[in-house]
């Protein structure tokens, strides 16, 4: 395993495609935490994020033939994850339209009321909740940039849009987030 850890993602994935289970394990170990964190911040639910991360790796394995090595393995992985989140959101939207009452009784943020009340006093919790209210097209680049610390080029590659679009979406996303957080924040946000 120690020899594998020094290899870059593309090389490891090439080995994994040839059936090297150790290389695949190394890749999973390298990216699982960041991916789960990203998906948690996108979906607002850790359990769902973990399931989505697993689905992402499974899809990656299933569709490994489609990958063409161009040094963009991480954006490729996150593109799969993002597409899964988008599909899930579309399904939920349809379901919400069909059964609003049912959804209202089965929210995804299953927090105990008392715990939630305590946590809501903290900035992080408020911010994480406000993040969920951002439209997905702003939430994705904001999370990748400000939480995962990706470059604009990588984000553009992962979200399949131009770097200029990424920048403007991040700017607008932060502005929207600022307005959402403002009522809960004791201090200037300029």
């Amino acid at each position: 395993m120690s020899t594998q850890t020094a290899l870059d993602d593309g090389t490891l994935f090439a080995r994994a495609r040839q059936g090297d289970a150790e290389a695949l394990t190394c890749l999973v170990d390298r990216h699982k935490d960041a991916l789960v964190n990203y998906l948690t911040r996108i979906s607002g639910c850790r359990d769902r994020a973990e399931d989505a991360a697993q689905d992402t790796f499974l899809k990656l394995i299933e569709g490994s033939r489609n990958y063409v090595e161009q040094g963009q393995w991480r954006p490729y992985l996150y593109r799969i994850a993002t597409n899964l989140v988008r599909s899930q959101q579309r399904r939920e939207h349809r379901w919400r339209v069909l059964r609003p009452k049912f959804i209202a009784g089965n929210g995804t943020r299953a927090e105990a009321p008392q715990e939630a009340a305590v946590e809501r006093r903290e900035l992080g919790s408020v911010l994480a909740q406000c993040l969920q209210e951002l439209p997905l097209k702003y939430r994705l680049p904001v999370v990748l940039r400000d939480i995962e610390d990706w470059s604009y080029a990588e984000i553009a590659e992962s979200l399949d849009c131009k770097p200029g679009t990424v920048k403007s979406r991040i700017f607008r996303g932060r502005e929207m987030l600022r307005q959402l957080v403002a009522p809960h924040w004791n201090g200037a946000l300029s």
Partner: protein, 141 residues
């Protein structure tokens, strides 16, 4: 809730950076491996299965097409038989009218409450040349 300490940068950005990291669970790899194995064990859709499904669909579509054609043909035959029947009836009626006309060449022109107006053509039909238009009887040279 306090404002982030770093005043120089965007406070929202700083706050986002300071969000606690969420890590994958301990059994993440094990669960992933189990799911991958289960997916491998699941029978996949192969070409023979796809071909069989396509053949079945084609047969079903063919059967539906043939049944529709047959229905249309029967419907056409029924309509044709009904028309032929009607045609025979009309032919018989016409023949009867002609026969009656030859036997009694009388035209019913109308009626008032007291009188029926009937034109009897029998005297003219009895003549060898039959009836002639009035224009031929002019006295001009």
């Amino acid at each position: 809730m306090t404002q982030p300490e770093n005043q120089n940068s965007d406070p929202i950005r700083e706050a986002l950076r300071q969000l606690p990291r969420v890590a994958a669970s301990e059994d993440f790899n094990k669960r992933l491996l189990d799911r991958a194995n289960a997916a491998e064990a699941r029978p996949s859709i192969t070409w023979p299965r796809l071909a069989a499904a396509a053949a079945f669909l084609a047969l079903a579509a063919g059967a539906v097409f043939v049944a529709r054609e047959q229905n249309q043909r029967l419907d056409y035959q029924r309509k044709r038989a009904a028309l032929e029947l009607r045609h025979d009836e009309l032919r018989r009626d016409l023949a009867a009218v002609r026969e009656r006309a030859v036997r009694s060449p009388r035209l019913y022109l109308g009626a008032s409450p007291d009188v029926d107006l009937v034109l009897d053509l029998e005297p003219w039909m009895a003549q060898p040349v039959g009836a002639q238009p009035a224009a031929y009887t002019t006295s001009r040279p």
